[in-house]
Symmetry: C2
């Protein structure tokens, strides 16, 4: 058992401190604040550092919009695993008269969503999702490596600055022979730890599980941990006893290769794995560790980011 | 009347040419394709060029997530003006049993949105929207200038590569005395034209109107044109007779300053105006004008972007 000491941490105080320094811009929406120029600068510098450390790997860069096909969310099993986090996009397909009624109801402070219907789009919950269909078919010898960065949406309104409804992830996605994929994952786990520690963050790694929904989800979480399919790199931000995940590694084995008909040329099994840095969380970990005045950060940290 | 010559342009052929060169990555969703590394490189270089040309203006940078409060969309009158373009975000708030039913229905190929309810979020339709509330209160002497860039959503599925459901806009937003705001708008209109022409684009500017919805919308569009509140910089991409808007200027007069209680210190009227570059459209205009092989682009264009 972890020794549960009482944390002095106050999420509202951290939020207010960030806002007072212009690092975040309150919008009135929980988990969807704006980011000031210094926050963004740290985020971009960190992302550049990650890309730089991965430069020799030769990842292909792909960019996708922050929306994804409804059929993709269905196919990924997201409705089974994380129904509470989905963002489904609905729009208006009606007549001029109906549009006027809808606007009138909104003006009167009444609910107006009965005028809406689903589109074929949902919000992207993880940056890597649109990448897997790009691998469909036969893989080249040695497999493939892709990097992508995107805004992700998860419906979990919170006042905790590190728990955002809309945030950015830098991801790397590897597909290929099972041993190659596992070795790649392990080498990144080391590299990720070294990278974050070089920025003065007290980072550690651990076996983890996804926040699967409901009773069946508890069993899936246990199985995921037992099979060591998910690792996280964590840093104390909001709590020393419950550190915040800033980087996570998922080994999907054949889950996506079978869903998207991804095969190796010799017919043997292909696996996928991905790792993602939660970019806002890294920024917040740095601000919590080194303070809200970046000019006062340790020289070696500044040198790493602003070299 | 414009002389409507028949355009040889074929949107599917342009789409396929872009895909064949790896510039775009088809996803199966209309207006939401992925972008390859060269497409992204052009986009980032152009954005950097814009930022560089505006460097002396000293705009404050703000960054927002691509989602916005439902109340903001209501307050902006967006339901009156563009109901057909909205993206309303719905999620699941139910029990474990309901979640299982929902996932089962999805698996059976049935519709499952009856299990969803609205969140307090919608998709951002224009990058500048979250900026106006940041101006609430008294303006400093001289007003303010902000820049922001974001993914925007507009529900208008299309096979036309330049008409995207999810795309990026670089925006500048000016608030201050009416004459200062208008002068700023006019100077950018010149600067924007010069910038785009320096990249070899046959750019022109013209009075324009927003695609207001319905019958009442037609009158609003006419009034907007008569008052010369909207200008666009257009480039022939898909058609010579109906060139594509790559940059648009909106002068809102007191529309937003009254909505968000924005005042000048001396109590006199404050106006806002914004201008936005449609970043994907600029990239597509460049590709259409100079071809899909960037190595073959004119040397002076390459020098401008990759200097």
């Amino acid at each position: 058992m972890t020794n549960h000491t009482i944390d002095a941490y106050d999420p509202h105080a951290f939020h207010d401190e960030l806002a007072a320094h212009g690092l975040i811009l309150p919008t009135g929406i929980r988990g969807a604040y704006g980011r000031g120029p210094v926050f963004e600068d740290i985020l971009e510098r960190f992302d550049a550092l990650v890309m730089n450390s991965a430069a020799d790997d030769g990842a292909e860069a792909m960019t996708f919009p922050p929306v994804v096909a409804r059929t993709m969310i269905e196919k990924m099993g997201y409705l089974d695993n994380f129904p509470q986090l989905i963002g489904s996009i609905h729009s208006f397909f009606g007549t001029g008269l109906q549009a006027r009624e809808m606007a009138d109801q909104a003006r009167a402070g009444e609910r107006w969503e009965s005028f809406l219907d689903i589109t074929d789009l949902m919000l992207l919950p993880a940056a890597c999702y649109p990448v897997y269909p790009m691998f469909s078919g036969l893989l080249p010898e040695g497999g493939r490596l892709v990097t992508t960065r995107n805004w992700c949406f998860r419906h979990e309104p919170s006042d905790e600055p590190t728990r955002l409804q809309s945030f950015r992830m830098r991801e790397f996605i590897r597909v290929g022979a099972p041993d190659a994929v596992e070795a790649w994952r392990d080498s990144w786990l080391e590299r990720g730890l070294a990278l974050l520690r070089s920025l003065g963050l007290p980072a550690d790694s651990d076996v983890a599980n996804d926040p699967f929904f409901g009773r069946a989800g508890k069993m899936m979480a246990t199985s995921q941990r037992e099979q060591r399919l998910k690792f996280e790199i964590v840093v104390p931000v909001v709590s020393a006893t419950e550190p915040t995940a800033v980087c996570s590694f998922n080994w999907h084995q054949e889950h996506f290769t079978s869903k998207f008909d991804i095969s190796r040329a010799d017919g043997s099994t292909a696996h996928t794995a991905c790792l993602g840095f939660g970019l806002e969380r890294v920024v917040l970990a740095l601000l919590k560790t080194h303070g809200c005045d970046v000019n006062q950060w340790p020289a070696e940290v500044r040198a790493q980011l602003w070299s």
